[in-house]
Every structure is written in C-alpha cells, then in structure tokens.
Amino acid sequence: MKIKKVYCGNYREGFVEGNLSEGLNIIYSDDNNKGKTIVIQSMMYSLGNTPIFPKGFNYKDYYHITDFSHKNKDFSVCRKKDNIFLKTDGSIEIFDNVSEFKYYFTKNIYELPRIFKSGRDKVTDLELFYQLFFVGQDKRDTSKIFHSGYNKKTDYINVLFALKGISGVSITEKDGLIQNLKKLKEDKSNLIKKNRVLKKKNKAVSIASYNNNKESIDSKIKELEKLKDEIVEYKNTRNRLQNKKVKNEMLIKELNSLNRTLNVGKLVCLDCGSDNIGFEIANNNVTFDVSNSDIRAEILNSINDKIGSFADEIIKIDNKIKDLQITVSELMTDDEISLENLMYYKNDITSVHELNIDIANLDQQINDVKAKIEMIESSTSNTKELQKKLIEEILTEMMSMYKKIDPTGTLVFDALFTKRDENYSGSEATEFYLSKLYSIGKIFKLDMPIIVDAFREGELSTPKERIVVEHFKKLNRQVIFTATLKTEELGKYDDFEDINTLNYSHNVQNKILQPRFAEILTKKINGFGLIERM
C-alpha cells in the first residue's frame, strides 16, 4: 500500500498534503504545532485507526480524506466521525462504523490476520493491526500497546503469530486468560457488595453530615450523572446495532422463503391418463429465472458479513458499558460520603436491577474464559515452540538494530513490551520503537507504509538519524517520518541521499487548516456525493 495524498478540512478551510513520495519521506519543521501530527493522525484516522489528535484540535468537525493505492488499484477514503466513505472503480461504499469498514477492508483491499479473542475467531481490529508499522507521537508507553483496552498486548503478539501462520496456543495468552478470570471474579464480588448496600433500607440520614459534605456530594453526583448519560448513549447505540443485526438476520430468512417455487401439480387427462395436454402460456414466451444461484449466494454472503460486523461492534460496546458500570460502582465505594446519603438525595443513579444484570453478564464472561482456558490446555506444544522461536527472532533483530543506532546503549530488549513499571522515555523509547518497527518490517515484510511521528523524539543525534534512515530505506517500502528540528538544524536532511523532505516551517503555528484550501477540499468532499446543506 502506498499513501498518495492526504486532505483534512471542510468547506471553509483545510490542508492538503500531496507531495509524499513512494520512498522515504521526512516531514519536518523548526517548531512544534506546525500541523505534522494532525496530518499523520488525519491520514491514519481516515484509514480506520483510533486517533490521538493534539489537544484543542476538534477533529470531529472535519472530513479526513486519504488517497492511496494497493496492488495497482486506487482508493480514496473519506471519514467524518464514524461515517466512512470509500471510493473505488467509480462506485462509493458507505460504512456506518469502523467495524463495517474493517470487514470490507479485509475482503477487498488487504487481507487482515485473524486472531482468537473473547471466545471467537475474529478479524484483527485496524487500530491494532496498524501498530505493527505506525507509531504516533503522543501517549507513548513502551509497556503497552496504544489504545490498550479492548485489545491488549497478548492480542498484538497473537497478530504476529497469525501472520506467520502459527496461531493457537500462546504462552502469554493462557496467562492473560487466568489474569482475566481473576479480575472478573473480583469485579463480580464487588458488584455483589454494592448490591447488598443498595438494598439496605436504612434511612437514618443526618442533614448535618450532608451540609458538611455538600460540595463533594454534588461533584460526585455530577460525575455519576455524566457516567449515567454515557452509559445510556452506549446502550442506545447498542440497541440500534442489535436491531440492525436482527433485521438482517430476518432478511436472510425472508429471502430464503421467497426463493422457493410453489409446487404445482400436473395436468392429466381424466379419460386416458395421458399428460399430453396443450397449455397456452398467457403472457411471456420465455422462461428465464430472475437470478441464478451465484448471484443469490453472493447476496447472502454480503448480508452475513454485515451481521458479523454488527456482532463485533456490539461486543465492543458491551465491554465499554461494563467498564463504565464498574467505574460507577467504584465511585460509590468512597467512604467519605456514605452511599445512603447519595441514595437519599439522588434516587435514579443506578438500580438494583441493573446491577443484577451486570452480575449476570460477568457470570457469563467468567464461564467463557474458563471454557477458553480448558481448550487451550488441551493444545499442542509444537506451536508453542515455533511461537517462542519467532519472538526470539524478532528480539534478536531488535537488539541488532538497536546496537547499530546506539552502539554504547545499555538497554536489553527481552520482550516486545517493557514491564509495567519500566516504561522507557525520551530517546530510549524512540530507539525502542524504531528497533521494533524495523525488526517487524524486516521479518514480516507487510505491504504497508511505515509511519513514525516524531521519529527523533528525545533528540536523537544526526548520525543516529542517518543510520535509521539508511536502514529503513532498505526495507523497500514507503516510509513517513516527522521531526521537529532546531532552527540551526533546518537544512540537515539535504545531504541525506534519496529521501523526500517536506518542510512545514512556513505553516501558521497552531493553525494548519487555511481558507485557501477550501475550494480543493469542497471539490474533494463533493466527489464522495456529500454536499453541505447550510
């Protein structure tokens, strides 16, 4: 895949980056806030990534568009909030959310690896897959993946195994599951405790105590309200998706019943029993079917894909709701302000009924995880060996690259992620990420661009940069780096050979979107069939 052009903006202002080459690119500027991160995040966001835009940039107000090509086919994708439009071959596909886009992506653009997660075999999420070759500027934490939550480190590692065809049992996965089980059991017992407290009918409330704590109580109530609203919104979205899923399931049943011809009897002469009776066809002379079996199969496949993507999205939202509900119950364990006080003054925060449902959900999840652990325990050890070898290969390559960049460096990479309390920072983190991306790039040879925003973060010295650039060039893929330089360093990339440099120094600080691009953006957005109604 090669990124060709990136657009960001709306009908009034925008920015266009059209100078990317298919080789190694460095976008640089002499100061921060010149729009480099916005362009990079906008590009990945339009491709279905979960974004980390700089604070203060209202990305949801804008259209994010990327032109790219893959295997000699050109694509153009436009995203605004969760609506994604894809243009190819003269037709436009519309997607309501990233999951739907992901299903199309894996079927028609680039086949994504499949991993085993939450008891199902599923297509890797784009926000996880992209981390194999994309590192953003903010929220770097070498002990975790980016957007850690639904997807975790074990999923990242499972993607690597899947790409080499050695999925299955993973050492880390089973441990992860056992941890998960422990946490679920804890959550369950917490909820049961909350449940018991709420059921108490003790109404001995002291007004004095309320007056003393009024401020804290009020702020706590505000927070709970906010959480409640969020939960309600998620539940609404979930219901909408559930409805759509059911609608599509019913459509399949309807189509199958339509496809049955009515059984007609045979005309027989009552006198002689012969069926040689003339029949006059009323209207049409010719008897072609309305469709053939291939067409019908393709239609049913497309509906099943939709159902799959809805199921995916519903699971994700269920997890988000679960997390929020746990936060709610955590807020309510604060001993400073008694639960009864809150209940007395705000009745509708949550109900015993809802907690019971949550406990039941947790029970279900506990059973799922137990089943998975059992399944894993009865797997082969051969795959484990191959997986161990792959991780070793990646780490060896990482150390080799690290030593080339920093021959006197003292870090030792013994895992793809650092331990929880050992988060690297500054130039060490940068060297870690660069080594990792290089190693994965070399071993997996994915046909995807390598993108690092702020590739010299922590002030990597120029000789080190040179080594990095030389090595990444050898990977023979499109590479996009960004860097913030000191004013006196501004010309330094001029003598790096065979690279494309883009100077963002002249962009207005903190305002990359400008009115002079409005016309181009408007035309581009219109190209997706979208016209603004004032």
């Binding site: 037709s91 496809n259 066809i281 049409n284 008897t287 072609f288 053939n292 291939d294 393709e298």
Partner: protein, 344 residues
C-alpha cells in the same frame, strides 16, 4: 449386471452448445444480424432469424464436428437447400461449422467465406454429397429443382467456422462497464442458461405443422427474441457485480439533503428491496417486463438524471414487482444506468 446410461444430454451437449453459439454469432457478429429481432428455434431449420416484420431472413444449419470433409459438408447443406427451394425466401443461408478438414479452403485464414474460397476438389465432393442427400430425403420434391439450382445455391451459401469461446460470445451481447464484467466461470453459466432456453424451445413439438405465412412461427412460440437475451445477460452481469457492492454514483444525487448518518440506512433499505425482488422466483414475468422498460428508458434518454427517468417511468411501472418503493426504484434505475457503458 450393470447398466450404463448413454445417449443422454452429455453426448447431445456439443451440438446444442454449438447451436447457441450460432445464435449468438448471428446476433453479434454477422452484418445482417444487427437487424435481427426473432431467433426461431428448430422450426425452419436448427435456427433461423428475422427482423421485427419477418423480413431480413437468415437461415442457419449448425454442425459442431470439427474435421468435416467435402462430402459431409454437402450432406449437411440439405436442410438449407430445402428452404432455398421452398416457398419462403431467405436472404442469407449460413452453414455454421465447428471446423473443416485441411483440404477444404483455399485461403484457410478466412473463417467466414463463400464457395469461391473452396478448393476445386472439395467443390466436387460437396456438390456430390448434397445431390446424393437430396435424392435420399423424402421431404425434397425432386421436381422442384435442377442441378443448376444446386449450383446457384452453393454460390450463395455463407460458410462460417466458429473460432470463439462461449464466453467470447456472451461478452458481446451487451456493452457494460468493465467493472461490471464478471469472470469467465460466471459467463459460462449465463451461456448455459441461454442454451437451456433454446432446448426448451426445441422441445415444443411442431412436426408436420403446415404454415401459410412465414410469421406463423409466432403461434407456436418457437422463438426467442434478441431482447430476451440482451436483458438476461445484462441482468446477470449486474447481479454478479453491482448489486452487492457499493452505491452507484448516479444515486448520490437522490441522497442530496439527507444527513450523513442516514444515508447508509437508505442505501441499505433500497438494496434489500432489490434483493427481495431478485429472490422472488414466482414473479419472473413482471421482473423482466420491468427490467426491459427501465433499460429502454435509460437508453432512449441517456442524458436524463435518475430523478428525471423516474418521473418519466411513473410509479405504475414499478408496482407489479411488489418489493420496490419510490427510493428503491430509483436505486434500481441507478444500478442499471451505471452498469451500461455510456456511449458518449
């Protein structure tokens, strides 16, 4: 004791396939075939054709064998000759062959040729074969022709050797956008549908029927129209490609003013209605009528937008298929319009 089933469809297969190729050849590759409206099956001959008024008549004999020699060619010409000397006049006589042996043609790069491209030795055997066969056949009245008639007939016959694959023929039937061209496997299945329909027509028994006018073939329903075939192929091509994928570009204008969040739903609903229409086995007549009407409207008014076409067609045209509403009707029009190659 075992019994082997023989002489069934498998052995008949090459012949009926060849007859379908003959039909599609006349439809798409013959100069006079452009005016053809009716393909008459197994009536005057294996295949005959004429225009909307029963004129521009072409008579075709189809023989699938590949290595045919002069004598066999002569024998094969007998039914064409029978029609030549009959009351009904044809404008063209075609012998559609699978192949000829090496000695037949003078210039063997020509796949479509007249008698003057036949070697003199083959000419002798062809004439001999035809004359002998005429003697044999009871349905040829010997008083109605002379040796001179055979000579004039032979100078008029067009010999066509089939050099194309089944898929080549199907591709020529209707012009679609390249993105709407399905793969060969699919096109082969469409060819089979045409062939099976031809077989259905063959099975209508008309032995010993006496005709007063050429156009009497219509009473016995032994025909397929060019339009039937064009609509079948176009409908299959669109069904294989456009129906499940994406929003046709021309439909975007019908979504003007709709908020972004609702567009997907409207497109989905419209597409589902079209799915229902395509799965409804029991309403085939109405479907083909509608498809034909929409196609004709699009081709007659190529510059019209979808809204304008919808206005022109009116609601009543869409009611009989039962599953379309005002939105999905427009969606259906867009699929067809975007699928056809725009000649401008």
């Amino acid at each position: 004791m075992t019994y082997k089933v023989t002489s069934t469809e498998k052995t008949m297969d090459p012949a009926s396939t060849h007859e379908t190729k003959a039909l599609l050849y006349v439809m798409n590759f013959d100069e006079d075939g452009k005016n053809t409206e009716f393909f008459i099956v197994d009536f005057f001959n294996d295949l005959s054709s004429c225009d909307s008024f029963g004129e521009s008549r072409v008579d075709i004999q189809s023989k699938a064998n590949k290595n045919v020699s002069g004598k066999a060619i002569g024998r094969d010409l007998v039914t064409l000759f029978k029609n030549y000397i009959s009351e009904f006049e044809f404008d063209k006589y075609i012998l559609f062959l699978g192949g000829v042996s090496q000695t037949v043609r003078i210039d063997d790069t020509l796949d479509v040729f007249l008698y003057d491209n036949v070697t003199s030795s083959s000419k002798k055997s062809i004439k001999a074969g035809l004359t002998a066969e005429c003697e044999k056949k009871t349905y040829i009245d010997k008083s109605l022709y002379s040796s001179k008639d055979i000579d004039t007939f032979l100078s008029e016959v067009v010999f066509v050797i089939d050099v194309r694959s089944k898929v080549d023929y199907v591709r020529e039937v209707v012009k679609v956008n390249s993105k709407n061209m399905p793969n060969d496997e699919f096109l082969n299945k469409v060819f089979k549908e045409i062939r099976d329909e031809q077989t259905v027509k063959k099975n209508i028994n008309t032995e010993n029927v006496v005709l007063t006018a050429f156009t009497d073939f219509q009473k016995y329903l032994k025909y397929i129209t060019k339009n039937d075939i064009k609509m079948l192929v176009l409908s299959r091509m669109l069904g294989a490609t456009s129906i499940t994928k994406g929003t046709p570009t021309s439909f975007s204008e019908c979504l003007d003013g709709t908020p972004i969040e609702n567009r997907k739903e409207i497109v989905e609903e419209s597409r589902n209605d079209v799915f229902r229409m395509l799965f409804d086995k029991n309403n085939a007549d109405e479907y083909w009528k509608l498809f034909n009407t929409v196609y004709q409207a699009i081709v007659s008014f190529p510059k019209h937008t979808i809204e304008e076409l919808y206005e022109k067609l009116g609601n009543d045209v869409f009611r009989p298929v039962k599953f379309l509403n005002f939105m999905s009707a427009k969606f259906f029009i867009s699929i067809v319009k975007d699928g056809i190659l725009n000649e401008d």
